[in-house]
């Protein structure tokens, strides 16, 4: 039956634990940034959010590709949930980034940073995922087109980052150099724990949503088996597959 429920509790506990540890590290262990002071601590939220979101988009693309390969609708639902969660994380990135930008540069938005700009482009692209789904009535076609979109957009994520990075004259970030370790050790450890916590949170949310969806689908299937087609109220129009 719902395989998504299995292990969900353990995963959720691990997530809570990791995030708690991360928070403790952020507030009590990581050193205060010399220039930016306390506001810099948003870094430990902002950057893991961004990285998880981007990985989530690519993940959604891979799941979409599986749908196209196999024709099994469940892959589409997985892809949908993956992209949905990644979108939420992405908007979180935008908000935390905006707060940081306002605090440290005085503007909510600047163009000069290629990472920022490419993230915006990617986010703009994925924001069209829901409207696209919404405006296709036939559920099978909806699934297929959404998967095509997921594949293209997933491939677009790295392509876009490369192109935009090349486009900007001065390159000042950071993420990709993070692993290179120009962070002080304490910061680095804190960051890595936060990143793991965020990734766990993403996986937990994904599984949770999948479990809910597949339960709902099974209930509908059972009702249909018991009551026949007409016994099942038609779904409200929704972009969410079910």
């Amino acid at each position: 039956m719902t395989t998504y429920g299995r292990g969900l509790r353990g995963l959720a506990l691990a997530t809570v634990a990791t995030i708690t540890v991360a928070f403790a590290l952020v507030f009590f262990y990581a050193p205060l940034d010399a220039d930016q002071g306390f506001i810099q601590k948003i870094f430990y939220l902002h950057v893991p959010l961004a990285i998880t979101a981007l990985c989530g988009f690519v993940f959604g693309g891979l799941l979409g590709a599986m749908h196209l390969r196999t024709g099994d609708r469940r892959w589409d639902i997985r892809s949908y949930v993956a992209i949905h969660m990644a979108l939420i994380f992405g908007i979180g990135t935008l908000i935390t980034g905006g707060i940081w930008a306002k605090a440290s540069w005085g503007h909510w938005w600047v163009w000069s940073d290629p990472t920022l700009t490419s993230f915006l482009i990617v986010l703009l692209l994925f924001c069209t995922y829901q409207p696209l789904r919404f405006s296709i009535e036939d559920s099978e076609r909806q699934a297929r087109y959404a998967s095509v979109f997921a594949v293209i957009a997933g491939a677009f994520v790295p392509l876009n980052f490369i192109a935009v990075r090349l486009a900007q004259a001065y390159v000042h970030p950071r993420v990709l150099t993070l692993t290179g370790g120009n962070l002080p050790g304490a910061m680095r450890l804190t960051f890595l724990v936060s990143l793991v916590g965020m990734a766990l949170l993403y996986v937990t949310l994904w599984k949770y949503e999948m479990a809910a969806k597949s339960t709902r689908m099974q209930v509908r299937a059972l009702r249909r088996a018991l009551l026949g087609d007409d016994g099942v109220a038609p779904l409200k129009r929704s972009a969410a597959p079910s």
Partner: protein, 232 residues
């Protein structure tokens, strides 16, 4: 559950392309609208900017934006006849490779864009540009053609996606614009130096390369997924 592919063939592509060009000649629906829109935009910029001439990166930006929006008009119309007059079904009933339709549409769009540029770029040179188009002409043509490929491929892809949606006139552009962004950046940056006063006569290799690579990657991507967009 995927269906096996019929043997592909250039013949089919040419047949569809010929039909599309014939329809365009009959109705004169797309290209004139694109051209006139581009010209009007240039005039608007001319008067709107209150500058007699532009050059360098600003000129490149104006040209790119103008071409992009004119292309949008063409992209929006690409599948209208197929949708409204049963062209999709008629094509799907024929024993031919389905991706031929995509290739033909992309070629048609490419032709439309090329025609557009043949008119709009000299007009741009006359109306707005501060320098001569002569010296960098070859480089400019190369960049524009590479840009046209991106516009044609991505435009075809997104309008194939959008055509079966309810809000098709919006869905196409909103998916297309972000996807086109890298290509547009490369195009604008690539022709910027060409349009500068005493500019270079050849675009920076970096941008040519990026644009060309982008073209290739998306052409492959589009070819890979197109079949799924035609199934029912």
């Amino acid at each position: 559950m995927r269906e096996e592919r019929a043997p592909g063939s250039w013949r089919t592509t040419i047949t569809v392309l010929r039909k599309d060009l014939l329809l365009e000649l009959r109705g004169l629906e797309t290209v004139p609208a694109m051209v006139l829109f581009a010209l009007a935009t240039l005039v608007v910029f001319h008067f709107g900017l209150n500058r007699d001439t532009v050059d360098g990166q600003l000129a490149a930006g104006v040209l790119t934006a103008t071409l992009l929006f004119a292309a949008m008009l063409g992209i929006n119309r690409l599948f209208v006849a197929e949708r409204e007059q049963g062209g999709f079904d008629a094509f799907l009933l024929a024993p031919v490779d389905r991706s031929a339709l995509l290739v033909a549409k992309a070629l048609a769009l490419f032709v439309f864009l090329a025609v557009l540029e043949v008119i709009a770029v000299p007009a741009f040179g006359l109306l707005l540009l501060g320098t001569s188009l002569g010296p960098p002409l070859l480089g400019l043509i190369a960049m524009l053609l590479l840009g046209d490929v991106a516009l044609a491929v991505i435009g075809t892809l997104v309008s194939a996606i959008a055509v079966h949606t309810r809000a098709r006139d919006l869905i196409g552009p909103i998916i297309g614009l972000p996807l086109l962004m890298p290509a547009l950046i490369a195009l604008a940056r690539g022709i910027g130096p060409l349009l500068a006063v005493h500019g270079s006569s050849w675009p920076p290799a970096r941008w040519v390369l990026i644009l060309a690579l982008y073209d290739v990657v998306f052409a492959l991507l589009a070819y890979a997924v197109f079949d799924f967009l035609l199934e029912d």
